[in-house]
Structure formats: C-alpha cells, structure tokens
C-alpha cells in the first residue's frame, strides 16, 4: 500500500511519520504518538471515547484518517492538567463529584466538554442542556448523573 508522509501537531509536539492512508487518526495518536489516554470504544463513531480536539473542535479520532489530520493541530487529554500536575477545573470537578468509575470513557467526555464548559453561559446550564451536550458520548458506569453535576461545578468555577 502506498504510504504517505504526515505531519501532525499533537499537544504542541509535531509528529512526522510515513503511514498507510488507511491508518486511523486514533491509531496514530495511540500507537505513533504513544498517547494512550485517547481510548477506542467502538471504532464506528458512536461512543465518543476517542474524542480529541482538532484545531479546538471536538472530533472523533476513529472517524478520521491520520492523513486527513496532516497540518492540523490536535489536543488530547494528556494536555489538560498543568505541568505541575494541577488538574484542569473540569478534571477536578469530575474527581470531586465522582463523575467517573472505570474511567475508560472519561478522556472523551473531557475533550467534548472542555470547550462546552468554556463557552457556556452558566445561567443557561440546566440539566437538559448539559445532558444534550453529553449525549454524543457513552458511559456505561455512571448513568451520567454525576457527569452532569461535574459540568455544573466546573462551569460555576470557570465563570465565577
């Protein structure tokens, strides 16, 4: 199979590789960049576990090929906490409200919710709006309830 050169910036570091065109972006992130915080739950774009941010927008990395991401900037869960280990307010809120159990889906939720919390109008953050923002990510452990609580807490702190 013809291989192609790709150059993808992930969390500020540029990864230049020669890859098959069929290589999924999720596999590039996990196996080439060795950033295994991005998880693969279904590989058909439903569960949202593989969500990363491409140029700031949440996308499903299992629905993109690595070659499509060349020249773009990717942000993954590994970039959220500060270098000294201080958690991002959203991560901190997840921790305090028990918004994760097995944690497999959590990076995808964080990637989806980070821009949502940032752009949210706290006054408009009712349960329905938050649940609608979560509805593209599957979680099998929590029943979503504490994730809703975490979003509220993070939004309050972010916009305080």
């Amino acid at each position: 199979m013809t291989r192609r050169e790709v150059s993808i910036e992930i969390n500020g570091e540029v990864f230049e590789r020669t890859v098959e065109p069929r290589l999924l972006l999720s596999d590039f992130i996990r196996h080439e960049a060795r950033l295994t915080g991005t998880h693969v739950g279904c590989e058909h774009g439903v569960c949202g576990a593989c969500t990363v941010q491409l140029d700031g927008e949440p996308v499903r990395s299992c629905l993109l090929f690595a070659v499509q991401a060349t020249g773009h900037s990717i942000r993954t869960v590994e970039a959220m906490a500060a270098l000294d280990g201080t958690l991002h307010p959203l991560q901190q809120a997840f921790h305090e409200t028990h918004a994760l159990q097995c944690g497999f889906c959590t990076p995808g939720f964080l990637m989806t919710l980070e821009p949502f919390v940032r752009d949210a109008e706290p006054a408009q953050l009712d349960d329905r709006t938050i649940r609608s923002a979560l509805a593209g990510n599957l979680c099998r452990c929590t029943g979503y309830q504490n994730i809703v609580t975490a979003v509220k807490l993070a939004a309050e702190r972010t916009h305080a």
């Binding site: 060795r34 439903v46 906490a81 921790h95 944690g103 029943g143």
Partner: protein, 764 residues
C-alpha cells in the same frame, strides 16, 4: 473503627491517572517485538466446518501464524466451568477454536497473527473456509421441540434442576385466585465500554508466562489457564491493569484467554489482541434471555399461598464458565421478600444457536424480580387491590430474621440474614413521594407509577485474601485478592485499612490483580469485593495494629492498652509526645533486630476472611412514567431506588453504583435487545443498532441508602452495593408502564413498538 473513615465519602484514589490519560488499559500495552492477533469467526450460526486453508493468508508479508483447532493441545479441547458446575454439562463446553461444527455466528475458527492488526485483518480475509450450513434454532422453547435441530451430542436441554418446598399442588387447588402468565426477558448484555484485550509474553529471563489484561478473577483464570496449557500455576503470572468496566461479562475465561497466551508461548513473541466492538457484541457473554411460565396462588385476603414456575434460560451455543449460575440464581431468589407456604421451580438450561450467555449485573435476579413483581401487579389488578398494599400484606417480617427461604443455590441453602422490609417499603415510598406521584398520574392520561421490591444477594464464593503491611517509609500497603472493574475497590479497601489501623487514608496504597505479588484471591463478582475483600483487610489490619502496638510497647515501655496509633506513629494515650513512628517500628521489626527476641520479624499480616454465608441486601425501585401515545416512547418522570445494605463504607461510591446500575437496568427494560434474524445473525451488533442509553435516555435516579439492617455475617456489617441498582429496574418500569396503559406487559424490553401494541390491544 476509630477515625470515622468508614462511612465517609472520600475522593477516589483511582481518579487522577484516569483523568489525565496516564492510566494503562490492556490495549495500551506495548512490548518489544509485539505481534497482533485477529480472530477469524464463523459467519454462520450453525454449520459444518468442511475445510480450512490458511495457505494464502500465510503468504502475506507480515503474517506469522494461523492457528486452527488442529494446533491445540489435547488438554485445551474445552474451557471448564468455574461455578455451579454439573457433570451433565461437560459435553456442552466451548473449545477455544471450533472443530467440526460451528454453533453460533461469531464462534472462533482460526487465529491470525501478524506484525500489525491491520495486516492480521487483511490476512484473515484470505483464509479459505468451507462451511455447510445446518438448520438453526434460536428460541429456547423451540429448541426443546422434538424435531428441533440438535446442537450437541446431548439434548438441547443441557441441564436443569427443581427447587421445591411445601404442597404446591394443594395450595393451587385450594386458592381463591390463581394468576398465571408467560413472562419473558429479552437478551441483552453487559457491554463494558472498554472491549476485552490481552497481551501475553514469555519473559525470556525468567521463563515466566506473563498475561496483561486480566480482570475480575485473575487467580481463578490462572488456574484454568494452567490446566489448559498443562503448565504449573506458578509459571504463569496474570496482571490486571486498568479495566474499563465489567458488569459480570468481562474477565470470565473465554477462548481468547487461552489462545493469546498459547500463541505467545508457541511463537516466543509478545502477542496482543484487542477486541473490536462488532466482535465484542458477538463474542462476549450475552445474558438475561428467559421464558417463564409462572403462577401465583392467592387467598381471598391477598395472602400469597404458593408460587410455581417453570422457566427456560437461553444459554446460547455453549455452556461457559458459569455453568448453571444464572438459572440457579433465578430459582433461588425468585421468592423474593415474601412469605410463601409452597414453592416449586423447574429450571432448564437450554442451548440454541446464539452467542453463549453468562452473568450480567444482578444475574438471574433482574429476570426473577421482573417475573415475580410483574405477576404480583397482575394479581393486584385482578383482586382490585392496590399493588403496594398487596406487597405489604405478604412481606417477611423483621422478627422472622434470619429467614430460611427454603430455596438453595449451588447446593447451599438461602437464609436471609437481616432485614426490615416493611420499613424499607415505607421509607422508599416516602422518598419517591408515592402519594404526590399518584396525583400526578391521575392528572393526565398515559401516566403510570410502579414499584419493584427485591432481595439481592452479595458476597458469593465466600472467602477473600488480604495482606496489610507497613513500609519503611511508615506508609501502609494493602494487597488484596479482589479485583477492580472500575468500581473503586482501592478507595474502599484503603478506607477500611485506614479506619482499622488508625493511619491516614492518604498514606494507604492498595494493590490487586497481580498474581506475582498476591498469592491467592477470588476477585470481583456478585457484589463481593468490598464486603469480603474489605473484611479480609479488616482482619489483616486488626492483627497488624496489635503487632504495632506490642512492638511500640516494648520500645516505649508502656503497656499496649495505654498506646494508640494515630496517623504515622504509635503514641502514649494522654502524652502524645511519647511516641514512636511507624517507620521506626519498621526498622525495629527487621529480622536482624528480631533475633534473640520472641517477636516475628517484618510488619506484614496476611488474612483470609472466610464467610459463613452470603448476605442479602434489599430494596425498592419506584418509577413514574409518561407514555407518548403516538410514538410509543416511554419518558421517565421520576425514579427512586431505596436500598438497605447494612453499612455504606463510602456513600458516594454506593450511590454511584446504584445510579449506574439503574441506568443499565432501565435500559434493559426499554432499549437494549440483542435481536437476531431468522438465520441466527445478530442484527444489533454495533452501537448503531444496540441502544446503550445516552445522557438523553438515562433517567435521573434518586437514591436513598439506608443502614437499618447490618449483617452479622462479616465484621463490617456491610452488604454488597453493586447490583441493587439494576435488580428491580425491569420490574418497576414494566409495572409503571402497565399502570399507564391499563395493560399487562409480559416481555422486556418494552420497546416503542411493543408499547403501541399494548396500547392497542391492552385494556385489561
């Protein structure tokens, strides 16, 4: 219990790596020279395997091996049962790779190993397999018909049993009212968000076979693997990493659990396998599919006289590790929280051409609770009695505890340990706002309310191992035979250790799931990890505390009873400046210092907790639903679970278990169904078709935890928290829908299509 650490909602020890992407799941393992396996699976539900030609696949660059059944050693021809085994079932066990016949779509027939997963999948397409299709049978009742296609040498009823007490026939003959229904639960499954995954390698320096990706029951699976490989247990190391959910299905010993280590041994290369989602849906245990013909005999005043059931459990194409666990649990706990003078249950384990089935959160009880509670509502409707009042009249009284139910599971009598069911019923109804929701129901059409009462069991397989140690830094390390599927085991065990010893929660680390550092264990299933694992930690920590106090007593020349352990030191009561730190005690306990004294060296205490019996938590699900008469959609207006589990070690984690469990139970009642077409193909094999609940469907669940009936069967007084949130969800939802439609649903899940049918034909 000194510090009040138990009973406090401390933040989880597990969270930070999971939140930052630093956690390691099986699919994250990278080893030098690692190969990737892909399992070639049968596309047919039932067929003779005529020939298999791996030649073209082997010619593809990057391909290292294609394994078929002929490559398997004789010891590995069948995966054994680990629980509720029955000799009759031996002929129905699954081989790691199919031989002459495939019996479900998705059955492994070959394994391809290549440099990458992409190449392994390419090569699998080149393996030439000739099949000759055979007729399929999918429903358990049809499988028992005389002319039904037979799957194995033995009959399609692979096994079964009867549980009986009292004079059932007489009770039915003399009853004022007999209510009889055929009730069915559809097939659904655990579906953890992380698919299964394994990496196996032979450590060339030590010769140790190492398997990463163990889950649920690492030590049990090591025993099975050792037997199938004909290799000593101590030459195998299973390692549990982060595990992305289990719910009963993940961690059982599957064909791949043999194939991947076997292949690593054979090729002397690390071999990785990560299941894809489509594969998971066809390969991992399904659950729940049962057909019940069930009847209740009642007296005129609504007193329950007798319960009679005959049910079929569709276990799919093979008997897997669980043997008769699911029908066993169904039959043992079907009587629930009520007094019966007579009971008869005939259980059958039936094979069909579907994916094999095993346990899923509240196995057998989700089904049994639906069946019993649904039928009670039907009886209440016939008697024109309030369904709650009918229950109230028949509950086992607190004074009757411990209560021998007359049933048994796996040969062991079921004796409820403690409970105040009537109190829980009133507390649960009050929390739900039963009267308020009645008015809500009456104020508009298509609204309904319903309840489901359940008695759960917890702490099956009645022992667990723990070792508690003080380290040279004065910290505490706990090694547990338990396992984590993500439920928060480390947090809970650390709380028990900190509370018992008197040390800081933050100074406790918990280790589990590595057979190299933990000699034995049972693992995590049946709501056992906190109750039995916690009890083992409590025992070990109690002994360690005694030793620390004795050692400090010698050092400080103060009697042990005048000493206390606070945070990181033993101090004199009333004179905290007189103290010796735990790290100093560690030095005092080194073997060289123990020479010449009578003390045992080291600061490590092992304990096995052996439990006399299971414990029986109980609770109530209440649901209020509103039905869209045009679409058949069921909207949940309010949902409450009241649950008595004796003692909550970490209330926030308990609530998390209940809410998450309820989301699964409600989804099994309304959404999730592993539907098959007539040819035996799973038509709900992806997340496009199999409807896991999203945040849009999962209801808000209000949880009331009560601690009115601690158990005396373990030193914590705690009963298991893992399954009550699921146990009666099907029952409560179905009863609420029945109330809304004035019809009697007889089958789960109640999909929009079935709602519309009920609405049309319903009206009782």
């Amino acid at each position: 219990m000194r510090k009040g650490v138990i009973g406090t909602s401390l933040p989880r020890k597990e969270d930070v790596p999971l939140l930052t992407g630093a956690a390691r799941f099986a699919g994250d393992v990278q080893r030098p020279g690692m190969l990737h396996a892909h399992i070639l699976r049968s596309p047919f539900a039932h067929a003779r395997l005529l020939s298999l030609n791996a030649g073209p696949a082997l010619e593809l660059p990057g391909v290292h091996a294609v394994l078929t059944q002929e490559d398997l050693p004789p010891a590995a021809r069948a995966i054994p049962m680990r629980m509720f085994a029955q000799q009759d079932l031996e002929g129905y066990l699954q081989p790691p790779l199919a031989g002459g016949v495939v019996r479900y779509s998705g059955e492994p027939v070959a394994m391809v190993v290549a440099d990458s997963r992409y190449e392994a999948e390419d090569a699998a397409e080149l393996v030439e397999v000739d099949y000759s299709e055979l007729p399929v049978v999918l429903r358990p009742d049809e499988a028992l018909e005389e002319e039904a296609p037979r799957l194995h040498t033995g009959p399609n009823r692979a096994g079964g049993f009867r549980i009986e007490f009292g004079d059932v026939d007489r009770a039915f003959a003399e009853a004022h009212l007999v209510v009889e229904e055929r009730l069915e639960v559809g097939r659904h499954a655990a579906v953890p968000l992380e698919t299964r995954g394994l990496v196996a390698e032979v450590d060339e320096l030590t010769g140790m076979l190492v398997v990463y990706g163990a889950a649920k029951i690492p030590h049990v699976n090591r025993r099975i693997l050792a037997r199938l490989l004909d290799r000593p247990e101590e030459r195998i190391r299973l390692v549990e990493l982060n595990v992305g959910g289990g719910f009963g299905a993940r961690g059982e010993f599957y064909p791949e659990d043999f194939l991947i280590p076997f292949c690593a041994l054979r090729l002397r290369r690390p071999v990785a396998w990560v299941e894809d989602r489509e594969e998971h849906m066809r390969a991992c245990n399904h659950s729940r599919e049962q057909v019940h013909d069930v009847a209740i005999a009642l007296a005129k005043d609504g007193r329950f006289l007798a319960l009679r059931d005959r049910f079929l459990n569709n276990t799919g194409a093979y008997i897997r590790t669980h043997g008769l666990v699911v029908p066993g649990m169904t039959a043992a706990l079907l009587p629930g929280p009520y007094r019966w003078s007579a009971y008869r249950c005939d259980a059958s384990q039936v094979v069909t051409n579907k994916t094999p089935a095993g346990t899923y959160r509240a196995p057998g009880r989700y089904e049994a609770n639906f069946v019993r509670e649904r039928l009670i509502d039907v009886a209440a409707h016939r008697l024109r009695l309030d369904p709650v009042e009918l229950r109230r009249r028949n509950l086992i009284a607190r004074d009757d505890m411990p209560y021998p139910t007359g049933t048994h599971t796996d040969g062991h009598p079921v004796v409820y340990d403690s409970g105040d069911y009537a109190l829980l019923l009133e507390k649960g109804l009050a929390r739900f706002g039963w009267e308020e929701m009645r008015r809500w129901r009456d104020s508009a059409p298509h609204r309904g309310i319903g309840v489901g009462f359940f008695v759960e069991k917890s702490g099956i397989a009645r022992w667990e191992y723990a070792r508690v140690e003080v380290t040279n830094r004065g910290e505490t390390h706990v090694y547990s035979g338990g396992a984590s599927l993500g439920q928060g085991l480390e947090t809970v065990l650390a709380q028990v250790a900190a509370d018992t010893l008197g040390v800081r929660y933050d100074d406790v680390s918990v280790f589990h799931g590595d057979t190299a550092t933990i000699p034995d264990g049972m693992g995590a299933f049946g709501s056992r990890a906190a109750t039995l694992g916690g009890s083992a930690v409590l025992r070990g920590a109690t002994r360690l505390r005694e030793r620390l106090l004795e050692l400090a007593a010698d050092e400080l020349e103060i009697a042990p009873e005048d000493l206390d352990l606070v945070d990181d030191a033993v101090i004199a009561r009333g004179a905290p400046a007189t103290r010796v730190s735990l790290s100093a005690l560690f030095e005092l306990a080194r073997p060289a210092r123990a020479l010449g004294s009578n003390t045992q060296p080291g600061l490590s205490e092992e304990a096995y907790f052996l439990s006399e019996d299971m414990t029986f938590p109980y609770g109530l699900h209440c649901a209020a639903v509103e039905i869209d008469a045009e679409t058949g959609g069921v909207a949940i207006e309010r949902y409450t679970v009241a649950y008595d589990l004796g003692r909550a070690i970490n209330p926030q984690l308990v609530e998390g278990q209940v809410v998450g469990g309820a989301a699964q139970g409600v989804a099994g009642a309304l959404l999730e169904e592993l539907a098959y077409d007539e040819g035996g193909q799973l038509v709900a094999g992806s997340f496009m078709d199999y409807l896991l609940p999203t945040a849009g469907e999962a209801p808000f669940v209000d949880v009331l935890i009560t601690e009115d009936a601690p158990t005396s069967r373990n030193p914590l007084g705690a009963k298991g928290a893992g399954e009550g949130g699921t146990a009666a969800a099907g029952a409560a939802i179905a009863n609420a829908v029945a109330d809304a439609l004035a019809a009697e649903p007889t089958r789960l899940p109640i999909t929009p299509e079935r709602v519309l049918t009920l609405a049309r034909e319903g009206a009782r």
